[in-house]
């Protein structure tokens, strides 16, 4: 069950209703795909360990928010304590893509004084024939906001691992560089329990400044 991890990151998953947030998370944490899924009420919780480097594990605590408008005031409250986020839209639903702006604006207001590392996720990429959003325009939008873009499918398990682990790696790099720091009273990043051996080797790595020759 509980293995030892270096850090715990709290990630939030947002996006319009029915874009497939819960299904994506369930695929990632439980490895299965539910054909029928009830709308999320308020917020749900999942967790999983991710190994970003051999022996270096990060515990992801994933907050799955309700996309429904009526729960919006609840989900807003969760931005503040998240270090990373997956912003989902449905590639077969143009409207969900157009709302990405609004989602980003909203998080910007509510995340203060912290920051969230977002990745833009075009979901349901298995339904390519019904596509309403091209990869190109999604990439353009993501770049405009300084986000990465990735297309995923929970049903066919495409890029699901990658979406989460890439984001985790990016955050980990920021933490390592000190651009994101652990703060009292903030749940975004928590320090885990590291075997002494890893501790010392980490310090060695830090002091050597990672020779890339």
């Amino acid at each position: 069950m509980e293995a030892i991890w270096l850090y715990q990151f709290r990630l939030i998953v947002i996006g319009d209703s029915t874009v497939g947030k819960s299904c994506l998370i369930r695929r990632f944490t439980e490895g299965r795909f539910a054909q029928v899924s009830d709308p999320t009420v308020g917020v749900d919780f999942f967790s999983r360990l991710v190994e970003i480097e051999p022996g270096k594990r990060i515990k992801l605590q994933i907050w799955d928010t309700a996309g429904q408008e009526r729960f919006r005031s609840i989900t807003r409250a969760y931005y503040r304590n998240s270090v990373g986020g997956l912003l989902l839209f449905d590639i077969t639903n143009r409207r969900s893509f157009q709302n990405v702006h609004e989602w980003l604006e909203e998080t910007k207001v509510h995340v203060q004084p912290y920051q969230i590392v977002f990745v833009l996720v075009g979901h349901k990429c298995d339904l390519d024939t019904q596509r309403q959003v091209t990869r190109h325009e999604a990439e353009k939008l993501a770049a405009a906001y300084g986000m990465k873009y990735i297309e995923t499918s929970a049903r066919d398990a495409i890029n699901v691992e990658k979406a989460f682990t890439d984001l985790t790696r990016d955050i980990y790099e920021l933490v390592k560089r000190g651009e994101i720091t652990i703060q009292e009273g903030w749940e975004g990043v928590k320090s885990g329990f590291v075997p002494n051996v890893v501790h010392s080797s980490e310090e060695v790595v830090k002091s050597e400044r990672r020779c890339l020759c």
């Binding site: 069950m1 509980e2 030892i4 319009d16 209703s17 539910a34 029928v36 899924s37 009830d38 009420v41 308020g42 917020v43 919780f45 999942f46 967790s47 605590q61 907050w63 309700a66 996309g67 429904q68 408008e69 009526r70 729960f71 919006r72 005031s73 609840i74 807003r76 409250a77 969760y78 639903n93 409207r95 969900s96 709302n99 609004e102 989602w103 909203e106 928590k190 329990f193 075997p195």
Partner: protein
């Protein structure tokens, strides 16, 4: 053994920090002492063998021991430290009795108790039969005490928990000095019988009745702070507690920290995978209980702020009417009497499922109530609860029938190594499964409350009044706690059946642990229930004003499609 002891210490030290309901939390403290003392007993048990005390004597033992000063105790170093820690809380347990308790009285009780309880762990577990219920009722008894009136409670908290009398100031200082020494020994304490738990629980039970919460959380918080400060002053071991208290922690924070410490310790100390499986805190988190609690706290806090701001914006008759209605709502939030044990046992498997499903549908928060009974899928938040509970029960039934059948055949097959043994669950297995089930059921219950809060706050139409909902929720809380109680009883029956040939010092801690965690579970659920009050208050106000919803949702909405 050692690991379990440490586990309890962790809980004991960390849990009372919750401000919301100090009295419930005080139970933990008490438990910790109960485990430690028998430990001392075991150390000394080669000295002599004395009479086996009867449960009902527990109280009298406590009361009749005033004459012996603690210095006379044979294990000053070890026991004094634990006395220091537990003594104030033990007094609070005595509060339900009419006789006023003084610090000295209780502080000096334990040496006597030690010698008297020596042989208890060796006896059977028959007397635990009614314990599960009393355990839960004692939790409510602590709340009931508050109902006596806030000033009364504060006064009592002061006399019983508090201000050390001059006569005991000096020994206390002495113990504090010896604390370092005692701490070193702490980890080597073995654990044993539950005598201490027993005595204190049985006194608490006497006062169990209907619980009426007239004081608010504020009052409890106040008392909690005050008491903890006093304890912290008298006891260096509480430094950590005090530090946390000052940070104004919420229950989920406290639990999270406890869990994190547990994780750390688990990593450092525990090598056996099996040991990890019995850590309630870790399991509770694994089932997302902590997260749901945190989310529920957020909703509760937000609602509380809204209620306060609304109240401050009203005046005159309008304010009075609303205050009156909120008062009624608060009353509905008191817990109904816990069911009689016999009644409880008559209930079949389906009854809990039926009851909880019915109660939930009475809340009228879900648009699709028919989905609630569907067990597969797991999308609905009631089905995990029902599933967890049914799995536990099925497990118990198979676990119970197996060894019973074996015993009928031979009776001697319980010895290790026989082929039959292989099919059977060991006491450790049962214990692990029991703790896991309790953690899961509790996490699911908290989830249920969290989701209910979200739905109450954001359901479109309100078909039932907030007061009706409160009553239903109160019934749900009772049903859940009763279920935990009966589950823990069934698990301990399994343990006694399976461990009939086990040594008492192996079996007893396991049984105690199951009851302890059942008690913890029940108080988490009750705490979570209390967190719903502000949510229901907002719901009541919104229902009254109708238009308030638009007022409150000031942020610009995002369109859904």
């Amino acid at each position: 053994m050692e690991s379990l002891y440490y586990f309890f210490c962790l809980y004991a030290n960390l849990k009372p920090q919750s401000l919301n309901n100090f009295y419930q939390k005080s139970l933990y403290k008490e438990f910790s002492f109960a485990f430690i003392l028998p430990g001392d007993v075991l150390i000394m048990s080669d000295k002599d063998d004395s009479e086996i005390p009867v449960i009902t004597e527990a109280t009298s033992v406590l009361e009749g021991a005033n004459c012996e000063p603690p210095e006379n105790s044979e294990s000053v170093d070890q026991s004094t430290e634990t006395e220091n820690k537990s003594e104030p809380i033990v007094s609070t347990r005595k509060r339900p009795e009419s006789k006023p308790a003084s610090d000295i009285e209780t502080a000096e009780v334990f040496p006597v108790q030690e010698s008297e309880s020596k042989d208890v762990p060796q006896t059977g577990w028959g007397y635990w039969g009614s314990w599960g219920k009393s355990l839960l009722s004692s939790a409510s008894a602590t709340v009931a005490t508050v109902g006596q009136g806030i000033s009364n409670v504060i006064e009592k908290a002061e006399t019983s928990l508090g201000i050390p009398s001059p006569s005991e100031m000096s020994p206390e200082a002495k113990y504090a000095a010896g604390e370092t020494n005692a701490k070193d020994n702490e980890n080597s304490f073995p654990m044993a019988g539950p005598f201490g738990v027993f005595s204190t629980i049985s006194t608490a039970v006497q006062s169990t009745g209907k619980t009426v919460i007239t004081g608010g959380l504020d009052a409890l918080e106040f008392i909690g702070k005050k008491t903890m400060d006093v304890i912290a002053e008298g006891d260096p071991g509480f430094k950590r507690t005090k530090r946390l208290m000052n940070r104004n922690s919420t229950l989920s924070q406290v639990l999270r920290e406890a869990k994190e410490k547990e994780e750390l310790w688990t990593y450092n100390e525990v090598t056996m995978e099996t040991d990890k499986k019995t850590h309630y805190g870790l399991l509770f988190d694994e089932f997302q209980g902590l997260s749901h609690l945190e989310a529920l706290e957020m909703l509760s806090r937000e609602s509380e702020i809204k209620v306060k701001s609304i109240l401050s914006s009203l005046s005159g008759e309008e304010l009075q009417t609303l205050k009156l209605e909120l008062e009624q709502l608060k009353e509905a939030f008191s817990l109904a009497e816990f069911c009689d044990e016999e009644e409880e046992e008559k209930k079949g498997d389906e009854d809990f499922t039926k009851e909880i499903t019915e109660l939930f549908s009475q809340l009228h928060v879900s648009s699709k109530p028919e989905k609630l009974t569907r067990r597969a899928g797991g999308c609905c938040f009631l089905s995990p609860l029902v599933q967890a509970r049914n799995t536990a029960h099925e497990w118990i039934i198979t676990s119970l029938t197996k060894p019973l059948a074996e015993e009928e055949e031979g009776g001697k097959q319980l010895e290790a190594g026989t082929p039959e043994q292989l099919n059977k669950n060991s006491v450790e297995d049962i214990h692990a499964f029991a703790i896991r089930s309790l953690a899961e059921l509790t996490a699911c219950s908290i989830e249920l409350f969290h989701k209910t809060a979200a739905l109450v706050l954001h359901s479109q139409k309100q078909e039932v009044t907030a007061i009706e909902r409160s009553r239903t929720l109160s019934q749900m809380t009772v049903a859940l706690c009763n279920e935990l109680s009966s589950l823990s009883k069934e698990f301990t029956t399994c343990l006694t059946t399976a461990g009939v040939k086990e040594k008492a010092d192996v079996l007893n801690p396991l049984i105690t642990a199951v009851f302890l965690e059942a008690s913890n579970s029940a108080s988490y659920i009750q705490d979570a229930f209390q967190l719903l009050l502000p949510v229901l208050e907002i719901s009541l106000i919104e229902n009254k004003t109708g238009s308030l919803r638009q007022e409150l949702q000031v942020q610009t909405p995002l369109s859904e499609h």
